[in-house]
């Protein structure tokens, strides 16, 4: 089956973020395809590469990155949701003249249309709020 995930949950605040990650890892392990993970609302915080969790805690951003690197999963962050929450890649930081950025590959910043495209091209879209 082809899955896509919509993640609205912020890491470390809501369990939804970690559950989405475990769902993604399990689905791939069982031979399903993951078309896209779309990070929206507070879920965009999952894409910050400045997360520094204590060493004995779950490193969610690192695991998302591993998932993308090992399985070529498309990790897309909504641009409207991310800009207003201070999640910027180098292009957006330059565009808005900000001194730094905190989002980079494998997370891609793109539009809401990618969430609808995921609905069109997946058998199931699961929301993690």
């Amino acid at each position: 089956m082809i899955f896509s995930l919509a993640v609205y949950a912020a890491p470390y605040s809501q369990e939804g973020s970690a559950t989405a990650l475990r769902f993604a890892e399990s689905a791939l392990k069982q031979g399903h395809q993951l078309y896209r993970v779309f990070f929206y609302a507070d879920g965009v915080h999952n894409s910050s590469h400045l997360h520094t969790p204590p060493q004995d805690e779950n490193n969610l951003p690192k695991r998302w990155k591993a998932l993308a690197d090992n399985h070529e999963v498309d990790l897309v962050v909504c641009i409207a949701a991310s800009l207003r929450r201070g999640i910027l890649n180098s292009e957006e930081a330059a565009r808005y003249e900000k001194p730094s950025h905190n989002c980079e590959a494998p997370f891609n910043i793109s539009g809401l249309g990618q969430m609808i495209d995921a609905c069109v091209n997946s058998d199931r879209v699961i929301t993690f709020a």
């Binding site: 539009g111 969430m115 609905c119």
Partner: protein, 118 residues
């Protein structure tokens, strides 16, 4: 063409879901899919006509709702029991929404290809 249902379950201003669902809904309208939207639970409060969001420096959700029709989103549903539990009447809503029973909601959701829940 895929059937995509947006389900709005949260009150309008405490969290960002109402606004971000509406943004996604308007974006979805550009993709030529079969879009429906259901307001259920506290989500019915999003439909209330007389919102005074200015007092909390927010944009009025209900003011944007009439735009749905311009975006060809006409399948707008509301959970009938959620309205009655909150003593709300259809006349208090900013747009026309078709009230559905739990059985009808079950049929609606089973008939979808994708459900985006907010």
């Amino acid at each position: 063409m895929k059937k995509i249902l947006f389900v709005n379950r949260q009150a309008p201003f405490g969290r960002s879901y109402a606004k971000e669902s509406l943004d996604a809904l308007l974006a979805a309208s550009a993709y030529d899919q079969d879009i429906s939207v259901l307001f259920s639970g506290d989500g019915v409060f999003q439909l209330i006509k007389k919102q005074q969001a200015k007092g909390i420096e927010q944009k009025n959700i209900a003011a944007t709702l009439p735009a749905l029709e311009m975006y060809d989103i006409t399948k707008i549903y509301v959970q009938a029991s959620a309205l009655s539990e909150r003593d709300l009447k259809l006349g208090q809503l900013a747009i026309d929404a078709k009230p559905l029973s739990e059985t009808e909601i079950s049929a609606l959701t089973q008939n979808q290809d994708s459900i985006l829940s907010f």
